[in-house]
Symmetry: D3
């Protein structure tokens, strides 16, 4: 009944290729089905003004989409002169989510910027960006620990994200674009490897949902995140 023929609770195929670019301190190309996101992590010694001198670290994120990542070419944000509302919303979410899994004292006064650039989009780009972004962050932190710049591991728990939603009246896991564009309700669930919640966003465009449905979507999400965390572990071992 799903356009892709998947079961209701079946994720798309996930692959994570680490070291996709050579300059970044950490990088990977994550593929969740036909959604491909390049994630890089950059370590810098400077921190934002509001924590200067605090001894605390910072993790932030930026998100972009190549103009022809989508079915129809979108105008390049650099040429239109500003990041759209959707971009801003997503990159703030990625940053908040990744920070939730970081011990900022252990990280020390430095900043890690995670860039997530969508090479090809087929639904769920923000979730793939968070899941792949954590891998890039993990690899960058590994480098800091190898050099001894960081002693105690600041990444206390993996962070991954997945979507679920009501499609054609049924709760389904990991919506692809054809599902996403038709779904009455969709949610994004950002969770830790130990099953804690970091952020939940459920939204109904021109529709409503019940607490019971909310529970079903959460059940699916827990299953999906567990699979993603396993993929992260495999990639960064």
């Amino acid at each position: 009944m799903r356009p892709s023929g998947r079961d209701l609770s079946e994720m798309r195929a996930v692959s994570i290729e680490t070291g996709f670019t050579k300059h970044a301190e950490g990088s990977c190309l994550i593929k969740v089905g036909d959604t491909h996101v390049l994630c890089t992590a950059t370590i810098e010694d400077r921190v934002p003004p509001f924590i200067k001198g605090s001894g605390l670290g910072w993790v932030t994120a930026e998100y972009g989409m190549l103009p022809r990542a989508t079915n129809t070419r979108m105008r390049r944000e650099a040429s239109s002169g500003k990041q759209g509302g959707r971009t801003v919303e997503i990159q703030r979410l990625i940053g908040r989510s990744l920070r939730a899994g970081v011990d900022r004292v252990a990280l020390g006064e430095r900043q890690i910027t995670v860039d997530c650039d969508v090479i090809q989009a087929d639904g769920g780009t923000r979730c793939a960006a968070i899941t792949g972004g954590w891998v890039a962050l993990r690899l960058a932190v590994n480098k800091l620990m190898k050099t001894g710049d960081v002693v105690s591991d600041p990444l206390v728990d993996p962070v991954a994200a997945v979507s679920s939603g009501i499609y054609a009246g049924q709760p389904v896991l990991d919506l692809d674009y054809p599902e996403d564009s038709e779904a009455g309700v969709d949610g994004n669930f950002i969770m830790t490897g130990s099953g804690k919640l970091i952020e939940v966003q459920m939204s109904a465009e021109g529709s409503v949902f019940s607490r019971a449905q909310m529970g079903e979507l959460m059940d699916l999400a827990e299953k999906g995140v567990a699979e993603l965390v396993a993929a992260q572990q495999a990639a960064t071992k």
Copy 2:
């Protein structure tokens, strides 16, 4: 134990003064404690390009904050040359939320723009904006129905929003600024008068939460929204 002395499940005082400005088709000044938001609804015959000719209506929202609505003066967005990420995120939320309560066929091919401008801020401005925005929308639609431009009521169910969160380890309803700035977890719940969910956003900055806590916060939100809907009904009777 709350800075304001309120009980854990106690809302701040709510007042809604309708007709606060004379030009708008609908307007109100909503006060939720010391958070004061001016909401106006403007009816226009044009609709966005993507629904032109569809016969469907559109509801959209914009959000702003006066520079000295806050404790410290913020730079005016008009002078800094763009709306910040937070502004964009909030106004998209308001628009989506209000649309969820609208029968766009009944509204007919016209657009209603709801402007929410924060006169004074003390936490929870986005929730006050949604709750007050719906009142402005209600009043504007009443005008359309009085003139016969709209025949069947397109506002199928009231829409209101409230926050809850974990403050000092306890779930509390309707966070004010001192609570909001200290809360480990906070959520915004947008619901209908009949208790359905439109949007749920729960977020932990540098922290995590459990499904059980999520349930407690939802319980509080249901109580708060019921009180807000009663205030909306009283104001627009």
Copy 3:
């Protein structure tokens, strides 16, 4: 003969509600007929670079209009990405006018920013902004004097502003919007409580005027400013 039925030299009703918002060091909502402007004064320790270290203070102003303050909704300047020419022109005028009544040595090296935001417009918003802006400034300076940060009063003379113009061939005081949009000549007069001139702007759009008419408009303005200064004094006593 005036649309409002007022006499040629009759001002609209004026009210000034002080303390309209709680965060600002000084604030008021001034109403001149149906023109309502919220004015707030913010004290900051920093001054613009060009007077740093001079020991002199600075007073500046910003002006904005809520999108639906007017009969037809105007695009939000924050969303269009810049302040329009009219906004820039008006806020520079407000700043210059208020500074004319300030002893900048007595103020000391600090800056006061006066924000004037039009809640509802019906002609004469720049004059109401100056008159109300001075009240906000007065209240903020009072606070500085109460704490002893400022010893000698830097506000040497009140500042107020009023318009007059030629409407239907007759000189009239305090133009409302229906008059303003039809007037062949209109002027804005910024004066002190002691009757001195700070700024005079008289302008004929597609028309011309004589020195004799200029004198008549000034006579009206002197009467209007005297009434406004009385209202300022009453409000800040």
Copy 4:
């Protein structure tokens, strides 16, 4: 007593070289002492949307200053990404002033854009721009009349502008930069060839002035404008 040795009521030397550039329908380089402004008039068939179909013409103006027109290099507005407040204020003034001398019915539904670019600045650039701008406009209209596109002369009365102010306690005509930067009060007077007023702007930065002083400055201005109009007539004969 004036830095330049001029009498109190003495203008700087004025020269107007017409046809300074070959492409524009009208152009001149006006020199008022060391203030040099290049003015060009461009005729276009399109008019602004708000008068489309009205049969009325439009005259508008833009103003710019080359980066090193001034003693210290100013940042190029094209590179800083926007026109400053002073630029916007001045170009609106030029446009309003020139329109006051135009019979827009006689002009017919077309637009003339007058560009005023300051090549070298020494005080009084806005007045020189208006005076020279009218010459460019005159030449462009002459072309329209020669071709028969316009039959009845739409330029009913010349428009010229001059400054006067209180310098070192004395009223002086046509302030140059050393005077302008020290003057307590300065005014710009835009008048017609027949001695009518179009716009009066008098302003005291950190000072005040009386009605009597206002009269003295107006007297000076009337003398100056008469001389400028004579120079315009000589240049466009």
Copy 5:
């Protein structure tokens, strides 16, 4: 003597992977050594206003660099609010170069936009973008010919580009980043498969060069372009 150990006239390894993304009408990932550029071609029915109705086609290009494509993270152009001068210069070059190989009558009134996004940079990104951009263009045109939308092949001759320069006093082919940053003179040569020149840019930063040196660099470039054209043919066969 070259940092990479290459001979003076030796290109880096070149690979072209076609079909790298699924949505674009043509796409490839071109690798010239460690410089990796993703090129996509998008076919649209609209053309720029200046050729509307002419029956002629248009080819244009945009260029971007991911923030961490370089050794040090660069600010994202979308977030800084505009494309830098270097970006603008490069994308205009790519567009001009590709158009030189296109019969715009045969293409018909449609536009192909070639997006070149640098995934990893190690010198010579503009040349790689042109060479890979032509491949994406070739693939998109193939699609148009397969569907019969285009009958006669508009790609009259392949287009490819290579750099050469004076490094450590010696003429070398295909500069990588360590060479490029030290070279006294560097040139970019855009040529056709049949050995004709489309664009030559030779530039000495803080240095000069002779006509004889210019000839040597051209000789190297001819060799390099021949190899690149062979790689293009192999990839698009």
Copy 6:
């Protein structure tokens, strides 16, 4: 056969009027036929951050065009909010070219900004800007040497630029606008007084060219630059 009646290798008339504006440390109005460019040089003590403390000087350039320098009025870049791609490309070229003739050690840690503003355009504005820009630079450096701020002359060799191209199948020198808009191939050659090359840009819009043609265009350019350098020497003697 050329529209202007010139011989194939004949330059337009060149005149250079130095001291055109009084404030700049160096200035000239260069006229190459009907192309008129005002060039000013500004000396500042600050240098760009990347050479601060290095003891080296910097020369940079900005380029602009007055709105009616061209046959049709162009939108003012200050009002459109950014410099177009063509402007950016040209001003980067001017800066690079002038720097090539400067001994930055001899100049000392200061910056000279050369502003080139096109008053009237008829083809070849970038070449006129470089040739005139060098004259303004020469005059400014003369001032530094007269005051003793600079001891050894940092201008090692004059810099001038000229265009040549293939027009109607023939190589011609110094293209004017009618030729430039029809030319299949055009090149800009920036050279030193001693005949060395600084930058060569040859470009074919929708066409191609051979190495033999390239040589012919270079021959013409060498002749043109020699004449321009003579004019520079005459003007700055």
